[in-house]
Amino acid sequence: MSFFTTRQLRPLILLAACSLASAGPQGEYTFDDAQAFVGTYCKSCHNGKSAVGGFNLERVASAASLRTEAQKWIRANARVRNGEMPPKGSPAPPLDQRERFTGWAENALRAEACAAGITAGPAPIRRLNRDEYTATIRDLLDIHLDIGHALPADGAGGEGFDNAAETLFLSPLHSEKYMEVAKFAMDFAAKEFKSRAKVLVRKPGPGVSADQAAREIFENLLPRAFRRPVRAEEAAPYLTLFQAAQKQGQSFEESVFFSLRAALVSPLFLFRVEPPNRGAGDRPLDQYALASRLSYFLWGSMPDEMLFDIAAAGKLQDPKVLKELVRRMIRNDRSLGFAQRFTEQWLRTRELGTEKVPDAKLFPTYAADEELRSDIRFEPILFFREILLRDLPLWNLLTSKHTIGTGNLAKHYGVKLPVRQAATKQPQWVDLPEGSRRGGLLGMSAVLAVSSYPYRTSPVLRGAWILDSILGTPPPPPPPNVPALEEAHGAATPKTVRERLTKHRENPVCAGCHSRIDGLGFALENYDAIGRWRDEDAGKPVDASGELADGTKFEGPEQMKAMLLEKKDLFIRNLTAKMLGYAMGRGLTLKDSCTVDDIVAQLRENDYSAQTLVEAIVLSAPFRNQAAMPPQAPARAQKEQNKP
């Protein structure tokens, strides 16, 4: 079995994206068209025994190769899409032909994969990321500290989230920090009444030896720390460790907390491990593993007592139970963490304050007001969470009659938000007044700032941000060696951004993408680099008109959002893929895109209800099932056998 990591397949909506941009009266693209494309642009090099890079395209000449040589297709397709192939110096197809080819290939590959049925996909062991680590220790020991802040931040992989198994590597620095933080946590817990009660469930005394008490303590805590029942041979070494600590002259309590410190550094705590499936095909996931998948998806932390109990009763695979659980888990306060981690990374607003800091001189009110910054940061997070809690249609994220209000935000936006006077600092769900122009994510400061430069807006950045984060159709990378504007257009360089971009689009090399990007960004020009409304920019009236390559015209954010709403399936598909990637903690595969299609269909039937999305993900095959362990690579297996 092989799994294709096919992030490159994300743009299987590329054709749709093109139709958004440049629908043309072209006939249906067929396998023969694709073969003609390959014949014209690829085969002169990738042919015969001496095929360049050992990449021979003979084997993809039949329709069956979409199934048998899918990996090869995926690779070829990704390189064509990214403009890496054909290489510089070889005849290159025009953008529209390139995209017709890749769009066709993606759909064809997906159709083949889906025809074979939805399967579970890989579930590699995954280290707890910094947030999960902090939350897990919080819930395990009942200590409320930002305990993980000393750990290095985690990078992201897969669908762009920092819970992706593939990029959660370990450095020597981690080993030191894990030791320090575990000590700090246990020292702290040893002094806290509530934590002590959680840990010290038994005390040595008459009739109870120290070893017996310690054993009971470990039997109580280790299964919670490792999030599954612990076998005797796994628990026994902790008792040995306890005894060794006693031998070193430590007291009973010291020895207990010391041994539990080891539990916090153990891979059984630090990694999420699912018992491997040694069978031939997919199987329903182990109950406890499923409990962890649920709790880390929706809470970013370990399962609670209720989840453990349901798992112990073996009821967690029951769809009815899962449906009910999902709703309960969303209502739990801990789902705020999910809303925050998911939204901030999906929208990239987490960069505000680190990679993106609005200039303090140009935006002194923003720089000086920590409360405002916090309100701005939490606005999309809380908005998303309310939509989830209230089970509203997901297209509210594009345009909505409601928002999250505070006194600060009302002032910042210059909009009369009906915020309760008694609690203006408390973020609250409010109705937007008519004509507020603030409905949906695209009217929120965090989004508008993160898609700007620190000192000015950029229609290109904002347009590209919409294509990537909202529609899931990021523009391809700029071709290498685009001539600078001056070279291309002579000395009379236009001054305004709009004029420069208009010139830029006169170059056909640039026009292909910028005709898609720029218009979307221009429609948001009435928002400044921290999202305030403006009618003038540098003394000139703002021109918020945008046009896409297909001639679609709009003016200002409301018309542009109305246009996006027409394409809401594209948005919903992207959101679904993002959330499935987050839930699985890995990049999506070709098979997963079948699951995404399936979920989008369910959403369409359920008025795009927010809770349906979460529920459908939890009930999906990749989430509930487990793939068989991939067979070992022969060379590697051989090597291991040869070991003494």
């Binding site: 290095p152 992201a156 992989g157 020597p172 990694f271 018992p275 620190p454 990021p474 060696n481």
Partner: protein
């Protein structure tokens, strides 16, 4: 809610308290002349690489003339008083970094000279970086094998436009092709770490940690036997870092058995802030941490990132600069943007010069710590506007324990391998290699024969 920081015991605090030695970033610093170092005959060689994202304004970078009588360019001018202690290297390139995209493939490879795998994460792949190769070839020399520093957290997300995880653009030190090394960005926590590492351990606390680490390694071994091949690699990574830590703990708990001794003690009372007020102060403090680490000999190897690849940190704090770093680097030949680009480059060179001067102020035996160091300033692009990876901007400061023939502008034939520089540096560091990546030999004229 924040956690109170220090993991310093009262014992260690008291131990350090008797030593009134100033630290280099404090103006009240007392030069450490003659202290501690007199006992050791030959000071060790140290090595650091400072990485600047986004390339340079090439019009203002290259010095005039080659050889010893070269004239510093406007960008390099802050090195004027250090001219005899640096070598400017022209015309090197990193062939492995051509193609791919404009940034990640170049910047992640600056110390590996390898071509990274294009991936949003699943099959991360690079080479081993030259600093880590040195650390692996000189194990146990110092309490910390190496020190990875930066000022911005790892960049989030996957760059969907080019298809690389931003993990690539956030790491230049790679201990294996699949393992980038996490960086520290908090100067206070780096200082605590250096102090802790240099202070050693009581035999008892080392013993306890060893017991603990044995336990978790036991768990890892059991788990390893149960999982599939891919997951085993993750557990191998876990066991490798935990074993590394265990070795260090054992050595720290038995100072008598170790040849290592702090060359200059670290004063726990002089820990810097954990909230630098701005980018400039933050950079300075992190460079100070390299100076402290090198002076005390807590480590001999360090890497520092001024920013992540594609960093758009605002440099408006500089007079005459109105934009962010990456923005300005795409100057499109606009004279004003080029001017700003150069100012940003020059600011980085000023910081580099600051570190060199700090190390020069630290007396060590007959010379200075700078004499015994090799501090590389590097960018993975020349002209950022075109993502050009030819003629990389490279300066090497310090004399590498007398091995570096400093005070020159060395101009090589076009497209000479950057990896040759690393072959020479690894030689001077005392960990010679026959080859590094695509190297063809040492760099001519750099080392004294």
């Amino acid at each position: 809610m924040t956690m109170r920081k220090p993991f310093l015991s009262r014992r260690t605090l008291l131990r350090g308290a008797g030593v009134g030695l100033g630290l280099p970033w404090l103006e009240a610093m007392v030069p450490a002349s003659g202290f501690a170092s007199s006992a050791v005959p030959k000071p060790p060689v140290r090595m650091a690489a400072l990485y600047m994202p986004n390339g340079v304004n090439t019009h203002a970078w290259t010095p005039e003339a080659s050889g010893r009588d070269f004239k510093l360019s406007p960008t390099l001018e802050p090195l004027q008083d250090l001219k005899d202690e640096v070598v400017v290297l022209s015309n090197l390139w990193n062939e492995a970094s051509k193609g791919g995209d404009g940034h990640y493939v170049k910047e992640a490879a600056i110390l590996t000279c390898s071509t990274i795998k294009k991936t949003p994460g699943a099959d991360l792949g690079n080479g081993v970086s030259m600093d880590q190769l040195a650390a692996q070839r000189a194990p146990h020399a110092t309490p910390l094998p190496s020190l990875e520093l930066g000022v911005t957290p790892v960049a989030i997300g996957v760059d969907a436009v080019v298809g690389y995880t931003r993990v690539y653009g956030s790491h230049i030190a790679w201990s294996s092709p699949t393992t980038p090394l996490a960086r520290e960005i908090n100067p206070n926590s780096v200082y605590q770490r250096l102090f802790g590492a240099a202070s050693g351990r009581t035999a008892n606390s080392a013993k306890m940690d060893t017991l603990l680490l044995d336990r978790v390694l036991g768990d890892a071994k059991r788990l390893r036997a149960e999982v599939g091949a891919a997951d085993r690699l993750r557990l191998d990574e876990y066991m490798s870092v935990m074993r590394g830590l265990e070795e260090r703990v054992v050595r720290a708990g038995n100072p008598a058995a170790s040849a290592w001794k702090a060359r200059v003690p670290i004063d726990p009372r002089r820990a810097p802030t954990d909230r630098p007020k701005d980018h400039a102060e933050h950079v300075r403090l992190m460079l100070d941490m390299i100076a402290v680490a090198f002076q005390s000999d807590t480590t001999r190897i360090s890497t520092f990132m001024f920013g992540n690849a594609v960093s758009n940190v605002s440099f408006r704090f500089l007079e005459g600069v109105s934009a962010g770093h990456h923005d300005v680097s795409h100057h499109q030949k606009d004279p004003d943007k080029l001017r700003q680009y150069q100012l940003i480059n020059r600011w980085h060179i000023e910081q580099y010069a600051y570190l060199l001067r700090r190390l020069r102020e630290m007396k060590e035996g007959e010379g200075t710590v700078l004499d015994n160091s090799m501090i590389l300033f590097a960018s993975a692009l020349s002209d950022g506007n075109s993502h050009n990876m030819h003629k990389l901007p490279m300066v090497l400061g310090g004399r590498g324990g007398g091995r570096i023939d400093a005070g020159q502008h060395l101009v090589y034939s076009e497209d000479s391998p950057l990896s040759n520089l690393y072959v020479s540096m690894l030689d001077a560091f005392g960990t010679p290699v026959e080859r590094f990546a695509d190297s063809t030999g040492p760099l001519a004229g750099l080392l004294k024969s």
